[in-house]
Amino acid sequence: MSFELETAISPDKLRRVAIDPVSRVEGHGKVTILLDDDNKVHQVRLHIVEFRGFEKFIQGRPYWEVPVMVQRLCGICPVSHHLAASKALDMMMGVKQLTPTAEKVRRLMHYGQILQSHALHFFHLASPDLLFGFGSDVAARNVVGVIGAHPEIAKKGVLLRKFGQEIIRMTAGKRVHGTGSVPGGVNKSLAPDDRAELLKDIYQMVAWSREAVGMIRNLFEQNLAEYNEFGRFPSAGMCMVRADGAMDLYHGGLRARDIDGNTLFDHFNYGRYWEVIEEDVKPWSYMKFPFFKSLGPDDGSYRVGPLSRVTLCDSIPTPLADKEREEFMAFDGGSVTGATLGYHWARMIEMLHAAESIKDLLHDDDISGHDLMATGQRQERGVGVIEAPRGTLIHHYRVDENDLVIRANLIVSTTHNNHAMNTAVREVAKKYLNGREITEGLLNHIEVAIRAFDPCLSCATHALGQMPLEVAIVGADGTVIDEATRDHRGLTHEISGIRSIP
């Protein structure tokens, strides 16, 4: 992994350009670029600027609250956190095997989530760049512009997302932040009326998902050289696979390959993830930088998410998506499998896989069964891993004898991609910005590279940090509500409590 352009030698002498906030992504991030007088790029960084501290404040809470609390990390993929936490707490409860109904209802919820999240990302957030061009007019470069110029495409996107959200509502109780999954199982199965309702529309959803794969494939055919090279860099990858090596987004073992395609580990038990993954910290981002332990922090970065899953698995266990995967892998001699924009294509293949999997589950009578909960021998800790829409998501808890959480560690999908996103934006900056007059359209190229990863930046904020200035919040009535500054060690502390300004 190259750290070229990460840190300029003399930042004081350079001009700063910022993209703040990065838009059409989930969460709070900004990009800073340092340029010299000739507009040569010396430093590019994607900063994650917000703190949340979930791992700390769930300590001391009863474990059964956790699946409902931690999903509030993210409103786009709450089901991922809901399920990863439930899986970790299944293990903590000693439940080795869920009931068939519980596992299938959770899978249905998860595939509904993959469908809605991938549709949202492609149609509502990323498609304006692809349909109008990376440097097109900023006023129309959004979903409203897509609705105006391509109303049929936009409408299918809206309805695909709606279908996924409805599955979540029917299995979890609410479209955003539901309560369906609990440690040891689920609290309801799919009602027969809901099942009939979903069966009416699922074939249309499969067909539209196929069209979406065709649409991104066409875009690649029309712009092959640009799409293939855009933000491209060699990268290792990681994902979860089933025992037979096929894609499985809900459960399996970890598989990782290095940049040359050599296997680093395979079918690795995620209950011991810390033996293969470690995290680094850099002073300019709240998001950590994970790496493979065996390769070390300088060479061990990797990427996760649709591109890693589709390229690292041996097959996809639904026929239409599997056929699309074969075509993707063979396209232009396999060149797209290493392209940053290949993420979009892989994401649509997964959306098709999710739609097909939903169809199969709706035809399975277990989905409306009544045996919902399993029990086991209580353990002290549990680890739950799921392939969330954006990649491998790890939840790890320790629970004491009073059923209170005493320790939590979360490694979210977007955090795994931290290095990869930074590398992609540096590649784009080198190629498109170097030596040119910086325009809004050129800066959007940087964001196009970030959007390919579909980052979820508010998922990725664990911790606190500090900025060298003072701030005071003054309320509408002139009262100082909060102030903060930093001490000589760089730690935040409060100057005083509430006081009045004279």
């Binding site: 989930e26 949340r52 509030r72 479209r175 500090q466 060298p468 903060a484």
Partner: protein, 185 residues
């Protein structure tokens, strides 16, 4: 001879997520097909779904999330300055929500735990770059910082509640939520 009536001016709307999870924005998009109809009546200024980075003059500013750092304060004030009406959307904007659970913790402890004593950590160190906004000791609701015109509760508020409030405002009515639309979960 009568000139044709010009089309009615669209309401200009800005939205942002401060210390929130984007769930309220997702619930807004959960109006589904009604979004297509809404776009005949409103246009978006700064929002996570457009590439406009700063809020300009608007009729309505929708704020998701509370205040957890200096940047949130700055953005919120920019919205208040530019928007005729400010709507606090969802639990976090109204009372800090789940992120405010950190309010009983000491920031220093959390910093040290996450960045220095974390067992998974490689090289460690607390992030302190000037590009990172200063986090506040507490997470605050937005009405502690600016005047707020409407509060819509829920985690998140349902799409139907958001739709009712927007259509009431568009029709010039005082928004009222009927039975089932006012909830706090």
């Amino acid at each position: 001879m009568n000139a044709p009536m010009p089309p009615p001016k669209k309401l200009r709307v800005a939205t942002t997520s401060l210390a929130g999870c984007f769930g309220c924005h997702m619930s807004f998009l959960d109006i589904d097909e009604r979004l297509l109809k809404l776009l005949d009546l409103i246009e978006f200024d700064r929002s996570p779904i457009t590439d406009i980075k700063h809020c300009g003059p608007c009729d309505l500013g929708i704020i998701e999330g509370g205040i957890c750092n200096a940047e949130n304060v700055h953005v919120l004030r920019e919205f208040r300055k530019n928007c005729k009406i400010i709507l606090a959307l969802g639990a976090c904007a109204i009372n800090g929500g789940l992120p405010a659970q950190r309010n009983h913790l000491d920031l220093r402890d959390v910093l040290e735990e996450v960045y220095q004593t974390e067992h998974l950590l490689g090289r460690g160190g607390i992030p302190n770059d000037p590009e990172l906004p200063l986090p506040l000791n507490k997470v605050h609701p937005i009405h502690e910082v600016v005047k707020v015109d409407y509060f819509l509760p829920g985690c998140p508020p349902s799409a139907d509640a958001i739709w009712k409030l927007l259509t009431d405002l568009l029709a010039g009515r005082t928004p009222t939520l009927g039975h089932g639309l006012l909830h706090y979960d």
